[in-house]
């Protein structure tokens, strides 16, 4: 074990190793995003461009759910409901005010973060099953609210719902993303920025604290980590990201339908996150693609979209049995094997 312990001054004076900021994965991801932003709009049809935009937006929602589960062990079953809440706030501001789009996105993110925290607050001390059930019931309550109230469409009053005598006002887009290809790029940049924020969080003081909490809340507390505050921050951060995604979704399709934000959708999204890989941001990209590109493919092929629920169920079984880190984990293993053999 130790010989003589070094003094504080001696250690502080010792030269420290310098590390390059970021890893190769970040540069590869940045390059891939830039390539996608340039290539996809010119290569695919309007139908598929719309699907790709939705996939990018849903990958942010998946990253939020994955962050909660993969880094902190929180099972969030209300992420699609939060997406709807972000969309609702964005539609209310976007169809009823002249607030610039960037501010509108931030407002949607902030409101969603507050709701995510308030609903999770009662169960934060417990985590686990209690928190999962509370998020599920919140998703159920949000579904009922969306169906009862509807989404704003340029009407007057607090709710902003137009009656049948008025034409609904479509959600406006940012000036930088007025056309579909431009909006795809805009959404991609916003999603990439939030991915970067999530990535940086994983390498920060709070990222290490979350990893410790995930392993054992008792060990974390014994290490001086405020477990409740960290869980609160996690809900706020991922709620913010999901709210931003809601604003992007509202701007992408110009209006939202209540049926798209059911509790079942939240549960299915969580399944897709596990299949894609909850422990990495690549997994979130895969989950976003599975959640939005597969339904479009089924639509193109004339297949019943409900079959996807069965497909995702089978995928979940395979994940549990053979690939606990999801498709992203499998890809990483493959890449490592390829690297070793090369």
């Amino acid at each position: 074990m130790s010989g003589e312990a070094p003094t504080l001054a001696a250690v502080a004076a010792a030269p420290r190793r310098r590390r390059l900021p970021g890893g190769a994965a970040v540069w590869v991801a940045g390059l891939a995003t830039a390539l996608a932003a340039v290539a996809i709009p010119s290569l695919v049809s309007a139908f598929w461009l719309s699907a790709c935009t939705a996939a990018a937006i849903y990958s942010l929602v998946a990253a939020s759910a994955g962050l909660l589960y993969g880094r902190l062990g929180i099972v969030s079953l209300y992420q699609v409901a939060l997406l709807g809440i972000g969309g609702w706030v964005a539609l209310r501001l976007g169809t009823g005010t002249d607030v610039p789009f960037a501010w509108l996105m931030l407002a949607a993110g902030a409101c969603t973060a507050v709701i995510a925290v308030l609903t999770g607050l009662p169960a934060l001390r417990f985590g686990g099953l209690q928190l999962a059930l509370i998020t599920l019931m919140t998703a159920g309550a949000a579904e009922v609210l969306f169906l009862t109230v509807g989404f704003p469409n340029g009407g007057s009053g607090f709710l902003g719902i137009a009656d049948s005598s008025h034409h609904p006002v479509p959600m406006r887009r940012p000036s930088l993303g007025d056309t579909n290809p431009a909006f795809f790029r805009y959404a991609l940049v916003v999603v990439a920025i939030l991915f970067l924020v999530y990535w940086l969080q994983g390498r920060s003081r709070s990222g290490r604290a979350w990893a410790t909490i995930r392993e054992s809340a008792e060990v974390a507390r014994a290490s001086g980590i405020d477990v409740v505050r960290n869980r609160l921050f996690a809900l706020a951060l991922t709620g913010f990201g999901t709210g931003i995604a809601g604003a992007l979704l509202a701007a992408s399709i110009r209006s939202l339908l209540p049926g798209s934000f059911s509790a079942a959708q939240s549960a299915i999204l969580f399944v897709v996150v596990l299949v894609g890989g909850a422990y990495s941001l690549l997994g979130a990209v895969i989950a976003g693609a599975l959640a939005q590109l597969l339904p479009s493919l089924f639509q193109e092929l004339g297949l019943d979209g409900n079959l996807l629920t069965i497909l995702f169920g089978v995928g979940l079984l395979v994940t549990f049995v053979a690939a606990p880190r999801g498709v992203a984990g499998q890809l990483k293993e493959l890449a490592e094997r390829f690297g070793r053999s090369g």
């Binding site: 074990m1 003081r205 290490r208 507390r221 290490s223």
Partner: protein, 241 residues
């Protein structure tokens, strides 16, 4: 350093701790007793994971530790290790120590981590993911988490579990040096009397939740009640079991 006063804990109808009073000063205090005597429960009370039915835990500065949340006790300087080490497989050894050091007030995080790495002898494996280190190194990492920063009270729950006699002897020397190096009060729970005798200056014996005896090591070892309840008649004072 801290005074435990009249602490009682009940789990249903079982008295896990019954009016236990104990003073823990600078030095190494052994806490021994048969399985189910309440040793770990007492550590859990001190670190805030079990709320006692009655009693106080007072620091020298008058702070009642029972009024503080567990993470605040850790930041105050009350630190502990666990019977079963719980590591984060993907985090490096250094990051395990860093995550604790980062949450402690008023100290140089990097320097504290380096010191803990040196003291535990883990500097050579500092950058390795914790999943790849062996059992002995895991026990040392568990200990490192408890000593990094500026601890005032260090609670070690079976630190020698799973170690062979040679490794235990090394650990013993490390624990023995902690009070002088850090100025902390150290409490060690262990069934290994070689470890207890080798590093402790004070001893407290629990039996069925009651404090049977406490005081200087040899005096407690010589106590007939302690020998009857825990050590056994074959135990010889001055010799390890």
């Amino acid at each position: 350093m801290i005074a435990v006063e009249g602490v009682s804990v009940r789990f249903g109808g079982v008295h896990a701790l019954d009016d236990v009073s104990l003073r823990l000063g600078v030095g190494v205090t052994g806490l021994i007793g048969p399985n189910g005597a309440g040793k770990t429960t007492l550590l859990n009370v001190l670190s805030g994971f079990v709320r006692p039915l009655a009693g106080r835990v007072l620091a020298d500065d008058g702070t009642d530790l029972l009024r503080m949340a567990p993470h605040r006790r850790a930041r105050w300087g009350l630190r502990r290790s666990f019977q079963q080490e719980r590591i984060v497989p993907r985090l490096s050894v250094r990051d395990h120590l860093r995550v604790t050091a980062e949450h402690m007030p008023d100290h140089d995080v990097a320097a504290s981590v380096e010191i803990a790495l040196e003291r535990t002898g883990l500097a050579a494996v500092a950058e390795r993911p914790a999943a790849t280190i062996d059992q002995r190194q895991r026990r040392l990492l568990e200990l490192g988490r408890a000593i990094v920063g500026r601890p005032r009270v260090i609670l070690l729950d079976e630190p020698g579990a799973g170690l062979d006699p040679g490794e235990t002897a090394e650990l013993l020397e490390l624990i023995k040096g902690l009070p002088a190096e850090s100025g902390a009060a150290v409490v060690v729970i262990d069934h290994d009397m070689t470890l207890v005798r080798g590093c402790c200056t004070e001893l407290a014996v629990l039996d069925f939740g009651r404090l049977l005896a406490s005081g200087p090591l040899e005096q407690v070892f010589a106590d007939p009640e302690v020998r009857a309840a825990y050590l056994g008649s074959s135990f010889e004072a001055g010799r390890a079991l």
